[in-house]
């Protein structure tokens, strides 16, 4: 039977889940159309904070996209057999993550229908040009790899050699997309908070943390739903990866804080001060940033002690904490910290509005929809091959 | 028998849809002729011959746009040697009324124009809002 048709056959639970996601997507679509008609004024964005939740989510999901590396690299370069069954799931997660990231860029634009101008009048000195090329290239690359591997799996034959080459290419590419995304921000003289060479390494560390934690969560969920058992070995190894990445992520964050606060240049200090201290005026983001820090430390505590992380309940909580921590840090803190205070010293507090949240929820739903459908196809192919 | 009815009904529907323009024209007594366009000021010559303008005014305007915005080149030397300012509002609308000229022909031809007018001004229409 056809690969695509496997997605059309499913249990009532499967269809109900897709239906719920479709509702969210539809609501987001209506909302976005409305946003296009009346303008971005219905969002919480402002003159001093023109990028907000959308771009934060974009950066976060480029990270989720890049994190496919944490399973693809050990499996293909180091032949970790434990990942044999989950590598494709990781690749799908990576592809969908980057696709969602591109959608977040799209919805934040004032004239999205002119997006083609980036290619009509290419300006290689702009990082957006490179971002568009690398992101769409990554999605295409992964789509080809996944489709080819899936066909090979169904036919129970070895995939052609060029697939291996593409996979090897996808590894530096994954690092590349997140590096380009960091370069998008870290070369701007107007934004001292981003203007640090540590931004790209920080992005990668937090991305691999969130990505591997998310993958562990998905695997635990699939096991709970009796859809797929990744095996204890795979989850254990993935957990170790998440642990190391989390350690590096926290380390990088502290290093950044040290140089900023010990150096004490006001224009650099005030951004972090705004995030964690509210610049003595109080800001809506402050509790969230502390929550993010607390969650990261809690996750660290569980993950770093082997006796704790083997307990499924605790592992679940730790991975969820790590994921949410990075999501707050990158999805909000990064963007808001960059803009507050503005180059003119003004503070315009930013609170995302309902339409913004609806659009974000819709893109999340779209991501979940794609992952569900693609995982369904993969798992059906495997079931068929086994029987 | 039921199948026959469906088939004949389908054929009738097809015919009806196909003849929609004819029926519509018959019911509404549609005039075939294109709208008779008038100029607001007579006597002055256009920047290019009428035949050319009729088919290619959009191309000329697009070229003007590029020249003015991208190259700061605002002088247009017409075919007859006259010099014009490359400006939709100041030059074109000096003789052509947007509503009486542009809009009518665009509406008739069903050419949903580029969104020129969402930024460029029509002085005649916007009198209430125009500065003295």
């Amino acid at each position: 039977m056809f690969l695509i048709e496997k997605a059309f056959v499913g249990s009532r639970r499967y269809w109900a889940w897709l239906g719920v996601l479709a509702l969210f997507m539809f609501a987001a679509l209506l909302d976005w159309i409305h946003e296009q008609q009346v303008g971005l004024a219905i969002t919480g964005l402002s003159r001093d904070l023109p990028w907000g939740l959308y771009i934060g989510q974009f950066v976060f999901f480029v990270g989720v996209g890049a994190s496919a590396l944490v399973v693809v690299l050990p499996y293909y370069l180091h032949d970790w057999k434990a990942y044999a069954k989950i590598t494709m799931l990781g690749e799908i997660l990576g592809m969908v993550g980057v696709f969602m990231a591109m959608l977040f860029i799209f919805v934040s634009m004032g004239q999205p229908m002119r997006l083609i101008n980036v290619l009509r009048y290419p300006h290689p000195n702009s990082l957006i040009f490179w971002d568009l090329l690398t992101l769409s290239g990554y999605v295409t690359l992964n789509a080809v790899i996944i489709a080819r591997l899936l066909i090979a799996e169904r036919e129970q034959s070895a995939p052609p050699r060029w697939t291996k080459l593409l996979i090897l290419l996808s590894l530096p590419w994954a690092v590349g997309i997140h590096t380009v995304t960091a370069f998008l921000l870290c070369g701007l003289v107007a934004r001292p908070y981003w203007m640090t060479a540590l931004l790209a390494p920080r992005f990668l560390a937090s991305a691999f943390t969130a990505g591997s934690a998310l993958l562990v969560l998905i695997l635990l969920l699939l096991k709970r739903l009796k859809l797929f058992d990744a095996g204890g070995e795979a989850i254990r190894k993935l957990t170790v990866t998440a642990t190391y990445c989390l350690v590096v992520h926290i380390f990088f964050s502290l290093v950044e804080m040290f140089s900023t606060f010990y150096g004490g240049i006001p224009r650099e200090v005030e951004h972090i001060d705004y995030l964690y201290g509210g610049l003595s005026g109080g800001s809506p983001i402050t509790p969230w940033m502390w929550l993010s820090g607390a969650l990261a430390l809690a996750a660290l505590l569980v993950l770093i002690v082997p006796a704790l992380r083997v307990r499924p309940q605790l592992l679940l909580v730790a991975c969820a904490s790590a994921f949410i921590s990075v999501w707050i840090d990158k999805g909000f803190g990064l963007v808001i910290g960059g803009y507050e205070p503005s180059p003119l010293g003004a503070v315009t507090s930013y609170v995302p509005t309902l339409p913004e949240w609806t659009v974000v929820a819709g893109i999340w739903a779209l991501g979940a929809f794609l992952i569900t459908v693609l995982y369904k196809i993969v798992l059906s192919v495997r079931q068929e091959a086994e029987s | 028998m039921r199948e026959r009815l469906i088939i004949v009904g389908g054929l009738a529907l097809f015919l009806l849809l196909f003849a929609y323009p004819v029926l519509r024209a018959a019911v509404y007594h549609t005039q075939t002729s294109a709208p008779q366009l008038r100029l607001t000021s007579q006597g002055s010559t256009c920047v290019a011959p009428t035949d050319y303008m009729r088919t290619s005014h959009m191309r000329l305007l697009s070229q003007w746009r590029t020249d003015v915005v991208r190259h700061g080149d605002r002088r247009f030397v017409a075919f007859n040697g006259k010099v014009y300012d490359k400006s939709l509002t100041r030059t074109c609308l000096g003789c052509h009324n947007k509503q009486q000229f542009c809009d009518r022909c665009h509406a008739y031809s069903g050419v949903s124009g580029p969104h020129c007018w969402s930024c460029h001004n029509d002085p005649q229409a916007a009198t209430a809002k125009v500065m003295p």
Binding site: Q36, G39, S46, P50 | -
Partner: protein, 258 residues
């Protein structure tokens, strides 16, 4: 009844066959020239600049005639919500504009007196560097940082890159926020960025920028800063001037006399 040869070539359908190839060539050319434009080493023929004498501004507390004139000339929408404001030239507090010139012991810090700020038409504009489409570029003939609102995709990267807050985004329909429209200048559409254009449309006619003309104190001087005999050069020779955030290396072309 004859179109000149040049126009015929430009305007007629000769580009049909080569359209694809031409597009590619243009794209490469545009990319090259934009890159060249962004380099400070590229010596422009002219560099338009503005010098604002704040000593004269202080004679008229609360004055914003330059801003009024500019915004009326360029159909800049009046939006009450400060989060969605569109501004080309406006007054700012001294501490915001010159944060490093405050020493903490200044008794007269000039806060409260008019201090007009606008796009600095930098020598090395960060906004031009980041624009993915070339909708913003630095004109090589006179150094004006221009915008093409037909091409802007509304990504707001330039707003993020500008260290002077000189750029505004059209969050809502701009025409609805206009009481009066100057028919000689277009309005903007929803979702594009805009900023001061140094009155490029007036310079083309040989006129000075609207803000320069509107100032009753003649506090604003305009001209080619590379030309030693221009008004602006003479003014810069006469007094010590400062620029906003020179440490960023953008090379602003708006000068202030304190």
């Amino acid at each position: 009844m004859k179109i000149t040869r040049k126009e015929f070539l430009e305007l007629s359908g000769l580009s049909i066959l080569g359209a694809g190839a031409l597009r590619a060539v243009h794209a490469v050319k545009a990319a090259e020239s934009a890159h060249a434009n962004s380099l400070p080493s590229d010596s422009p023929k002219k560099q338009m600049a503005l010098a604002i004498d704040l000593r004269k501004c202080r004679r008229r507390p609360g004055c914003n005639l330059c801003s009024q004139a500019c915004h009326a000339t360029h159909n800049v929408p009046h939006i009450a919500d400060p989060r969605h404001e569109v501004k080309w030239i406006w007054n700012e507090g001294f501490a915001s504009v010159f944060p490093l010139e405050q020493n903490g012991y200044t008794r007269r810090n000039y806060n409260g007196s008019p201090l007009p700020v606008l796009c600095n038409h930098c020598e090395k504009p960060p906004c031009v560097e980041v624009c993915p489409t070339g909708a913003t570029w630095k004109r090589s003939e006179d150094g004006v940082v221009m915008m093409d609102w037909h091409r802007c995709i509304g990504c707001k990267y330039c707003i993020t890159a500008c260290p002077y807050g000189a750029r505004s985004f059209n969050f809502s329909e701009p025409r609805e926020a206009l009481q009066q429209v100057n028919p000689d200048f277009p309005t903007r559409s929803l979702g594009v960025v805009e900023k001061c254009n140094f009155c490029a449309e007036r310079l083309a006619k040989g006129e000075a920028p609207a803000c320069v003309e509107a100032c009753p104190e003649k506090a604003i001087v305009f001209g080619d800063v590379l030309d030693a005999s221009s008004d602006v050069s003479k003014a810069l020779d006469a007094s010590y001037s400062i620029r906003r955030k020179p440490e960023l290396g953008t090379g602003p072309n708006v000068f202030y006399f304190l």
